[in-house]
Amino acid sequence: MNFNSLYEKPVLLAVAAVAVISVGTLVTTFIPLFLPSTQPVSPLIKPYTAIETEGRDIYIREGCNNCHTQTVRPMRTEVARYGDYSKPEESAWDRPFLWGSRRTGPDLARVGGKYPDSWHYRHMSNPRSMFPTTNMPSYPWIARTKLDTSLTARKVKTLGFGYDDAEVVRQLAAFRTTVTAPAYPSAQVRSQATPVALQGEVTELDALVAYLQKLGRDLKAAQKTAVGSAVAEAAETKNPFGGSRAAEEEGEKIFKENCRTCHGEKGAGGFGPKLATTVHKFGGSDAELFASVAGGRPGGMPSFLPQLGKDRVWKAVAYIRHLEKEGR
């Protein structure tokens, strides 16, 4: 075949160009659409409420993503500055994603719950009154605009958040009651930012603040409660692998990989306490041992639940029981 003929046939050239650009496109964008790794879903990450959805749309309308990212990178200083790095499941409900590309201002992926609502009301109205050297512009008009909720139900339906129109109406009414109540903890600052005529209504700023308070909230709550709820659950059960020889053997492997450096060969003790004993520093019941391994203890014992998971923690506990017998 004479390849030069390609440069005499424009339609063939166009077809060839489409074929050539399709390869990278298929591999890097089309195939990933169907991979579990690009669409992980976690029951701990909740969809947005009706009001958070509206707040998010104001964030989009004002182009906040042009100066603020919403993705914490897995780097020591990022985690120290913002909090835990971002996980794919956190964006599962995000259409569009709002990770951004530039940090003229700080990352916001973990801003939810970091400050009270009153902080945001003041900051959006006049950031320089709080931080004289910031270049965050004032957005006072957002508090002066009543929130338009005429499309909220349709938005929630389009986004597939799984609650119906009646629930949207209920959520909007409940939110209005909350932020307009005299007992609302940020009532004083809100009333300073909001014109008198709108103080009994939901403003765009109310919705925006609700959205900002959602960012990272579910992940933080999940991480805080994961250990707590596993420990609480363990308190009411016995080791499901108790007495199983196979589990003890697996536990031994886990022990060698994770515990031996501190607790010594066969739990003989090292910088960590001796484990081949019936007298344990933080209690020797199944539940107490589980709590020690899963959640860690003061004085240097780290939490192993995140990396091992419940079952393997129980197997480690089974092996510690086995060591007790050997140590006797």
Partner: protein, 460 residues
């Protein structure tokens, strides 16, 4: 000569539209640069920073660059095929629709109607208009190529074809959305996939708007204005296919260290490094074309635009891939370094080539020399110095900012608050604004020079 070009008025219309949107986009850019230092300039909702930034990027990408590309493409098509445009009436309609669409786009973005996906912010009704415009353009490009009288298609025409198909594919796929009203829609993709597809688009919008057609101009107007044939036809073939193949793999280098699957990031990094080769093939082709004739840098006012332009393209295509390296991305991404990088490409490479090509075209279709070579030289030096001041400053600023974000005390705590890193930027932002003003002055000279060349009556 004049009998070959039959669509002069359309070419002129697009060229003048391009100059107009260039001025608009740069005024908005200057406003933004000033607002970085004086946030009090956030005067009203439609002047708010987050909205203006989008007007700036879209205005210059789709207003200035696309109009310039349309002008130069129609001109090159007629010359390289030795045939008139297949559908001149369609091209005329495209000119009108284009300007109406860009005006509506600007208004809608000022009004806050945007999807938030970078360079794809326009809401769905305007997306449809953009697709219609693109089909009109594609029909003329392909129609003229099919009906051409010149047997061989020169390399500029391949790049034009690549531009036509790539823009179509990436624009449509990234803008798929579900409308909830005339002015509001939600992306068809969620989370990680939305990010991955967005930056596949984002990177290839750069490839197919700021690279393929600009290379087409470079390969055509450099030989035309120097009278020298391009150094190697074979090298341009290799550069073309490997560039078109490699670009589509690299989008995720914008998503380094994010929740996008690591293998997609790493593949993007590998192909980013690979792209240095075909990019530099064009740079080398340009330099070798000048072999033995470098005196034209002094004697021919257009040559220095093309040579400096391709030099900035070369630097850009080294800098880009290095930024994809994870460790460097970890330091530089999200800092001012990245706007510094982007502006070398746009203010250096793209604008140098488009404005020089427009001088060439305007002189030809006016049937005489440009209004003032001296002013063209003033324009060149102002935009060169303005751009360097702008970009060098932002690179340094970005390195400083990245270092401040990563600095830790001996006890492991962070050395600087985020606000410290903002306060450290003000001197850099002031120099950047100064660079932008110099650059804008150069573009004003260019606009005057083009307007005067266009207005001059035909020589008898």
């Amino acid at each position: 000569m004049a009998n070959e070009a039959r669509s002069d008025s359309i070419v002129r219309g697009f060229a003048l539209s391009s100059v107009f949107w260039l001025l608009v986009g740069l005024v908005v850019g200057l406003w933004l640069a000033a607002e970085m230092i004086y946030p009090a300039l956030n005067l009203a909702p439609w002047l708010a920073f987050g909205r203006l930034r989008v007007v700036h990027t879209n205005g210059l990408t789709f207003g200035f660059a696309l109009a310039g590309i349309f002008a130069c493409s129609f001109y090159m098509l007629e010359k390289l095929t030795r045939s008139p445009l297949a559908f001149p009436g369609l091209a005329k309609a495209q000119l009108w629709l284009f300007n109406i669409a860009i005006a509506l786009a600007a208004l809608s973005l000022f009004a806050g109607m945007n999807t938030s996906k970078e360079y794809a912010e326009l809401e769905w009704p305007l997306d449809i208009v953009v697709v219609v415009l693109w089909v009109m353009f594609a029909v003329n490009v392909m129609g003229t190529l099919v009906k051409r009288r010149e047997k061989q298609m020169y390399v500029s025409l391949w790049f034009l074809v690549a531009c036509v198909v790539t823009v179509a594919v990436v624009y449509i796929l990234n803008n798929l959305a579900v409308p909830v009203s005339l002015t509001k829609s939600y992306s068809a993709y969620a989370g990680v996939n939305d990010a991955n597809i967005q930056w596949w688009f984002g990177h290839n919008a750069v490839a197919s708007v700021f690279t393929f057609p600009i290379l087409a101009m470079f390969y055509y107007f450099l030989p035309k204005s120097t009278g020298l044939p391009i150094y190697s036809h074979r090298l341009s073939i290799i550069a073309f296919w490997s560039l078109v193949f490699g670009y589509l793999w690299t989008g995720a280098h914008h998503l380094m260290l994010t929740p996008v699957p690591e293998w997609i990031q790493t593949v993007a990094l590998a192909f980013s490094l690979f792209l240095i080769a075909p990019s530099w093939a064009s740079v080398i082709n340009g330099y070798y074309t000048m072999n033995g004739n470098w005196d034209q840098m002094k004697s021919n006012y257009l040559v220095k635009f093309f040579i400096l332009g391709i030099t900035f393209y070369g630097l850009q295509t080294i800098q880009g891939p290095t930024q994809a390296i994870r460790a460097l991305s970890g330091h530089l991404h999200y800092t001012e370094y990245i706007p510094g990088h982007v502006h070398m490409g746009t203010m250096g490479w793209v604008t140098m080539i488009i404005t020089a090509s427009m001088y060439f075209i305007m002189a030809r279709i006016s049937g005489r020399e440009i209004h003032s070579v001296k002013l063209a030289n003033v324009h060149f030096w102002l935009i060169l110095v303005g751009q360097l001041l702008f970009t060098l400053t932002l690179w340094i600023a970005g390195i400083v900012q990245g270092a401040m974000w990563k600095a830790v005390n001996p006890d492991g705590s962070l050395m600087y608050t985020f606000l410290d890193s903002v306060a450290a930027m003000y001197p850099f932002w002031t120099v950047r604004l100064a660079g932008g003003l110099l650059y804008f002055a150069g573009i004003l000279v260019f606009a005057y020079n083009i307007a005067m060349t266009s207005r001059k009556p035909q020589a008898a």
